[in-house]
């Protein structure tokens, strides 16, 4: 059985909260990250993430919530977002965003698509598929950046792995 409208709305509103938060994080990092190539990539990705938040916010209205309604995710996920935002080094910032948050979200999109009725919930499915494609491109740009500026790839892999585990241990982000 698929998800009902209320549950779909809560999931979409939660994804919106996360995308607005990610937009603000990238914006906060842009002036304080010294490496020019990183700044320029972040600047471009602010708009990518904002467009996803916008599409999700329009969808919340269609799912009988307020226009651009956001729902706070589970506390553990909110804490993860806050900790990532506080990272001071550019390499750690980028790794936590592009190697932990985005791949984690991709898994959560997949889980949502497995659960929902793709016919009844077609508009959400389209938005998620688009977000997935955009975020895959963002991750690819991050890998290219690491090739261009090798110091940005110098991150403790154990730390990244631990952060990924922390992310994946949060079973559900929807409250």
């Amino acid at each position: 059985m698929g998800l009902n409208v209320k549950i779909r709305g809560k999931a979409v509103a939660t994804f919106r909260y996360i995308h607005v938060d990610m937009m603000e994080t990238l914006a906060q990092w842009t002036p304080s990250s010294p490496e020019m190539e990183a700044k320029l990539m972040l600047g471009e990705h602010i708009w990518d993430v904002a467009q996803s938040a916008d599409a999700l916010g329009k969808r919340t209205r269609e799912l009988r919530m307020q226009l651009h309604h956001s729902e706070k995710p589970a506390d553990a996920y909110v804490e993860l977002l806050a900790d990532i935002r506080k990272e001071p080094g550019t390499a750690q910032r980028l790794a936590s965003f592009y190697e932990v948050l985005l791949p984690g979200l991709a898994e959560r999109y997949r889980a949502y698509l497995d659960q929902t009725d793709t016919l009844m919930d077609g508009p959400t499915v389209r938005i998620i598929e688009q977000m997935h494609a955009v975020e895959a491109r963002m991750m690819s740009q991050y890998r290219e950046l690491r090739g261009e500026v090798p110091t940005l790839g110098k991150v403790d892999s154990t730390w990244v792995k631990a952060l990924s585990q922390r992310e994946s241990q949060i079973a559900s982000i929807v409250t």
């Binding site: 937009m23 603000e24 990238l26 914006a27 906060q28 842009t30 002036p31 304080s32 990250s33 010294p34 490496e35 020019m36 700044k39 320029l40 990539m41 972040l42 600047g43 471009e44 602010i46 708009w47 990518d48 993430v49 904002a50 467009q51 916008d54 916010g57 651009h68």
Partner: protein, 238 residues
């Protein structure tokens, strides 16, 4: 020494950059100097980064702003990042390298000093970028006259984006001022202090003899009223 009360600390730059505080400390070649165009493109690359950083700060500093204007600011971030890449591509093609000349971060240091979004938009988009419309439009004509069509095309693409940035600022300054008339006072104060700060950075050397005719069509397209365009045109004509 600069009056530091007029500025906040600058944004982070990597070690390739030599950041100065005043225009006179930069590489200011005469127009006929062989490196002048490359130096100018390098300077513009950094100015676009400053604009990106200021727009990004507007997103992170005003989380309760209307979603519609946040979307405009997010788009501006991507546009300014793209402009910076456009300038970099061109000066590298012409033999320049990142960090070859000193840069100024006065835009960011002046704009982000203010705690009102309306004030920041008035300085960044409605003043710096609107002034840019006049300069870029004059630059398109000059580049075409010089046979530099590559540069003319870059300016042509840039000015179209800048018009959108000025337009949304004009729209939102009006909305924000209608919603809260005290924003008009904030804008007035911000403009006055920004003007003092700009004069400190540029000095007489950086502004004397630098005048561009008002881009009337561009300014109208960017949401200025006919009366505002007329006043600007008269002021700029001296």
């Amino acid at each position: 020494m600069q009056d530091q009360t007029l500025f906040v600390p600058g944004p982070a730059r990597d070690p390739r950059f030599d950041v100065k505080e005043r225009w006179i400390e930069c590489a200011n070649f005469p127009p006929e100097h062989p490196e002048q165009t490359v130096q100018f493109l390098h300077r513009q690359m950094n100015e676009e980064i400053d604009s990106l950083e200021s727009s990004a700060r507007n997103l992170s500093d005003f989380p309760d702003a209307d979603w519609e204007i946040r979307m405009c600011l997010a788009r501006q971030c991507a546009d300014e990042a793209r402009h910076s890449r456009m300038f970099r591509r061109l000066f590298e093609k012409r033999g320049g390298r990142v960090g070859q000349y000193p840069v100024l971060n006065f835009q960011y240091r002046i704009i982000t000093r203010f705690d009102s979004l309306a004030g920041r938009l008035a300085i960044q988009n409605r003043s710096f970028e609107a002034g840019g419309l006049d300069a870029i439009t004059a630059g398109i004509t000059q580049a075409r006259n010089d046979g530099d069509f590559e540069l003319a095309d870059l300016y042509d693409a840039q000015v179209a984006d800048e018009i959108s940035h000025v337009r949304f600022a004009n729209e939102w300054i009006r909305k924000l001022s209608e919603k809260d008339p005290s924003n008009l006072v904030r804008i007035g104060l911000a403009m006055k202090l920004a003007s003092q700060a700009f004069a400190e950075v540029m000095g007489k050397e950086g502004t004397e003899g630098v005048h561009y005719p008002a881009d009337r069509d561009g300014r109208l397209e960017a949401g200025f009223t006919a009366e505002e365009v007329e006043i600007t045109a008269r002021l700029q004509a001296g």
